[in-house]
Amino acid sequence: MTYQLRLYVTGRTPSSIRAIDNLRDICAKELYGDIEVDVIDVLENPALADDERILATPTLIKRLPEPVRRIVGDLSDRERVLIGLDIAGEPLVTLKTQGNSS
């Protein structure tokens, strides 16, 4: 599986740092295959944020595999991030209950 991920952050804010840490951890533990991650600082590269119409930071865009998904937030809830990345690591039923309770 090939993953192409882009994480948009703004500077070194706490939520930016948390998002980068959380993404690094997820990539290391949950994703298998080719993983390409770009971290874009919107303050330095606003034009790149224009291209994707980014309003909120942090925003993670999964460009590959299709479908394209956007996850906004510091990625602190791993289960929901995995759902967002279309990775069903655990049985569906468990995911559902966890999703509802969170």
């Binding site: 703004t10 939520s15 909120a56 930071t57 942090p58 996850i71």
Partner: protein, 515 residues
């Protein structure tokens, strides 16, 4: 003890939008944000974009346009009909676009904490890139459904606002309302986002849409209160008619012009003042259109330009009527002295008529105009908008030192009051009444100068007749009372006296002639 720092006067930024700067008494508060709230279709986006476009066209000030709802390409296409080439302005780096819309295909999931720093960063970048002085945030309400936490959005909008304030740009924020009345916006953000609120309304009145603009508040700056009508048209975009902001500073002219009827000029003490408004009021068939024709003829003969605004007859009919009285309108039109403009009042709102007629006058630069008839316009409007129409017209033509002649059709044959009269009589300088007079079983016509500002005028009610030569004003009615009320009574001492009035050339009658 700290002394209060003297507050400097609020700096204003001229918008360049016709009329807005007048009602805002100079412009929008500079370096601040102003909310424009209105229901769907009230013209918010057009006003906001015009703020940008006029900034570029009139003041060379670049702008940023940030859209939350409508796709930028759609917006550009929508306003191209106003002749605004936004694409060119974007290409020339006069406008920077920040696309803050959300697409259905975005598939957004929220996981954990976030804020809208990227939005602010992008706007700030756009402002710096084109050196913008003006920023518009279009339809910020559309931001709310995108995120689950409305409070976060509010907080972030406040941050955007203070960020823009630090940049020193003047911002216009548009916001949708659900109702014409009541609260300003839907999401309760207006209090936070802006010190200044403008409300646009688009009400249905007498089956016609009437657009108004109201400055609700300007913190720290004065402004005109209440609603002002405005129009949106393809040529100028938004034009606001700043009625009460019109100052009564017209110069007063001593120059007299002819009404076209020499005897009437005599009755008016030597003619009409050049910058005066004349109202001719009478029932149908009393010769109002003939008076108009004579008045236009007088202009033509003096080599002056005139515009005749017809509201009830076509240009062809007016030419034919004039020809039957021996006046060649078609020839005058060919010589560039006359323009006949006929529009049915029904085709558009009175605000649009005002703008259109002003435009006609600006183009043709007439010395005189005539409107035949004013009461036709009243038919299609509310009393308020009719009054505004008349005030808008009269103040303009007075300002331009144009002589204006309006006709008014009264509903009752022998006279009586008409609504038009009561509405506009105080605005007009001269009122001439044309009345049917029933005398001894015969319908005759009487004319009187009811009022004329600033000069002596004859007070008699004079009989007049219409023929191929125009209007012939005869002798005063004597021995008859109550002509204007419509129920004349006779006060002759005997039959001999009555007979005497029938032969105006007789010596006995000469004594009643004016001095």
């Amino acid at each position: 003890m700290t002394a209060l720092i003297p507050v400097t006067k609020m700096q204003l930024l001229e918008t360049g939008i016709d009329g807005l700067d007048q009602i805002a008494e100079g412009g929008l508060p500079a370096g601040r944000s102003t909310v424009i709230a209105g229901t769907a279709g009230s013209g918010k986006t057009v006003l906001a974009l015009q703020f940008l476009v006029d900034g570029i066209r009139r003041y060379g000030e670049s702008g940023v346009f940030c859209t939350f709802e409508e796709d930028p390409a759609d917006l550009v296409a929508n306003v191209s009909s106003f002749g605004w080439n936004l694409n060119q302005m974007i290409e020339d780096n006069k406008i920077a676009v920040v696309d803050a819309t959300q697409h259905v295909s975005d598939n957004v999931i929220e996981v954990g904490h976030f804020d809208l720093s990227a939005l602010l960063a992008r706007i700030e970048n756009a402002v710096r890139r084109v050196g913008a002085k003006r920023v518009i945030l279009d339809a910020i309400g559309a931001l709310f459904p995108q995120f689950s936490d409305a409070n976060m959005v509010r907080r972030e909008l406040r941050r955007v606002q203070s960020g823009l304030r630090l940049l020193g740009v003047t911002t216009v924020v548009t916001m949708e309302r659900t109702d014409e009345e009541g609260g300003v916006g839907r999401f309760g953000v207006e209090e936070f986002v802006a010190d200044n609120v403008i409300v646009l309304r688009n009400r249905l009145e007498v089956e016609k849409r009437r657009r108004t603009i109201e400055i609700l508040k300007f913190r720290g700056a004065s402004h005109q209160k209440g609603e002002y009508p405005f129009t949106i048209d393809l040529r100028n975009g938004i034009t606001i008619i700043p009625l009460s902001a019109i100052e009564l500073v017209q110069k007063s002219s001593e120059v007299r012009v002819s009404s076209g009827v020499p005897e009437l000029d005599k009755m008016c003490g030597g003619g009409m003042y050049r910058d005066s408004i004349i109202l001719i009021s009478g029932a149908t068939g009393t010769g109002k259109t003939l008076m108009v024709t004579e008045y236009v003829k007088a202009a033509i003969n003096a080599g002056e330009r005139a515009i005749l605004f017809g509201a009830e007859e076509s240009a062809e009919q007016l030419r034919r009527n004039a020809a039957s009285w021996g006046v060649d309108f078609a020839d005058a039109e060919r010589r560039g002295l006359l323009r006949i403009i006929c529009r049915y009042p029904e085709i558009m709102g009175l605000e649009d008529h005002t703008i259109q007629m002003k435009r006609d006058m600006e183009e043709f630069k007439p010395a005189r105009i005539a409107v035949d008839s004013m009461s036709a316009f009243e038919r299609v409007s509310t009393p308020k908008s009719f009054r505004e129409f008349v005030i808008g017209m009269t103040s303009y033509i007075k300002h331009q030192e144009i002589t204006g002649l309006f006709t008014n059709t009264t509903s009752m044959l022998p006279g009586g009051e008409s609504v038009t009269e009561t509405h506009i009589s105080t605005i007009t300088d001269t009122i001439i009444l044309l009345r049917y007079v029933e005398l001894s079983g015969e319908m005759r016509r009487g004319l009187t100068v009811l009022k004329m500002r600033g000069t002596w005028h004859e007070k008699n009610i004079r009989e007049y007749a219409m023929d191929r030569g125009g209007i012939q004003i005869g002798q005063p009615f004597t021995g008859v009372h109550g002509i204007l009320t419509g129920s004349p009574s006779y006060g002759y001492a005997d039959e001999r006296q009555r007979l005497a009035t029938m032969f105006p050339t007789s010596v006995a009658d000469q004594s009643t002639l004016p001095a």
